[in-house]
C-alpha cells in the first residue's frame, strides 16, 4: 500500500505566505518539481492555471487540490501549501490547505490510489485541525500514525 509519509513530509509541507492565485501556484509547482527546469514549471503552471474545473478540485473540509498530467516527468510530484487560515485562492470555498500534484501521464492509477488514501486521511477531524492550523509537526505525526495501521 502507498505510504503517505512518502508524499506528506517535512519536504513537501510548506507554510505559504502568498495569497494571490498565481503566486501560490508558482510557488507550489516549483516545490512539487524541485529537480526540473523552469520550462517544465512554466508548462505545469499553464496546465494548472488553464480555465476548467477538472484541474482544480475542492475536497471539502478546507482542502483543495490542483493537478496536471504531463509527459515531462516520471514520478508523481507533490507539494502541500498550508495557509494557516481559510483563504480564497480560487473560485469556490475558502481553503486552508492546497495540494499541488504533478502526475506523469502513465501513472494515473497510482494517482487514484494516492488520492483515495489522502481522502481517507483527510476525513479524520484531528488531521483536519492540524492542517487548518498549519501545524507541520502534528501533520507529520498523524501521517506516520496513519501509515502504521
Amino acid at each position: 500500500m502507498i505510504q503517505l509519509s512518502q508524499y506528506i513530509n517535512s519536504e513537501t509541507l510548506h507554510v505559504i505566505e502568498e495569497s494571490k492565485h498565481d503566486d501560490v501556484l508558482h510557488r507550489l509547482i516549483s516545490m512539487a518539481l524541485p529537480d526540473y527546469p523552469q520550462q517544465v514549471h512554466d508548462r505545469a503552471f499553464a496546465e494548472v492555471a488553464a480555465k476548467g474545473d477538472p484541474r482544480k478540485i475542492h475536497l471539502g473540509n478546507g482542502f483543495a487540490l490542483v493537478h496536471a498530467r504531463m509527459n515531462d516527468f516520471n514520478q508523481i510530484g507533490l507539494a502541500l501549501g498550508l495557509f494557516g487560515q481559510e483563504i480564497k485562492v480560487f473560485k469556490g470555498e475558502a481553503v486552508h490547505t492546497l495540494l499541488c500534484i504533478m502526475i506523469p501521464v502513465n501513472m494515473s492509477r497510482t494517482y487514484m490510489t494516492l488520492l483515495a488514501r489522502v481522502s481517507r486521511f483527510f476525513s479524520n477531524p484531528e488531521v483536519q485541525a492540524a492542517f487548518a492550523s498549519a501545524d507541520v509537526d502534528a501533520i507529520i505525526k498523524h501521517t506516520f500514525e496513519f501509515d502504521a495501521v
Binding site: 500500500m1 492509477r109 497510482t110 487514484m112 490510489t113 483515495a116 481522502s119 481517507r120 495501521v149
Partner: protein, 112 residues
C-alpha cells in the same frame, strides 16, 4: 493471485468499499446488480410468495463486487481499511466477503 467476491447487502457502503479498493490498488473490479436467492424463489413459487407476505421482508437486492487481487497483501490491506472504516462483515446486514486462489490471469500489462 486471488479473486475476491463481496456480496454487499448494505448498498450505502458501496462508496466506501470502492474507495478502499482503489486505495489498495485493486482496479480490476466489476460491480454487478444482484438479488438474493430469497428474491428469486419468492417470485417463482406461489408458496414462497405467500411466505414473503407473512414475514413482510423486502426483496433482498445486493451489489456483487468481483475483484482480481494480484498480491496477497492487497487483500490484507483492504480488510484493514474496511475495519478502520467500520465496515463490519460479521454484522447480519452488511454482506459477505470471500476470496479464493486464482491460477490463471491474462490481461494488458498496464492493468497490474
Amino acid at each position: 493471485m486471488q479473486v475476491m467476491i463481496i456480496i454487499l447487502k448494505n448498498e450505502t457502503l458501496l462508496k466506501d468499499i470502492s474507495q478502499a479498493l482503489v486505495e489498495c490498488g485493486i482496479f480490476e473490479t466489476s460491480i454487478l446488480d444482484g438479488e438474493g436467492i430469497e428474491s428469486s424463489v419468492y417470485q417463482g413459487n406461489p408458496v414462497f410468495s405467500q411466505l414473503q407476505g407473512l414475514f413482510g421482508r423486502e426483496l433482498p437486492y445486493n451489489r456483487t463486487i468481483i475483484s482480481f487481487i494480484p498480491e496477497p497483501e492487497m487483500l490484507t490491506d483492504f480488510m484493514t481499511i474496511c475495519r478502520d472504516s467500520k465496515i463490519d462483515f460479521s454484522q447480519p446486514d452488511t454482506g459477505v466477503v470471500m476470496s479464493f486462489p486464482c491460477s490463471f490471469y491474462l490481461g494488458p500489462d498496464d492493468s497490474l
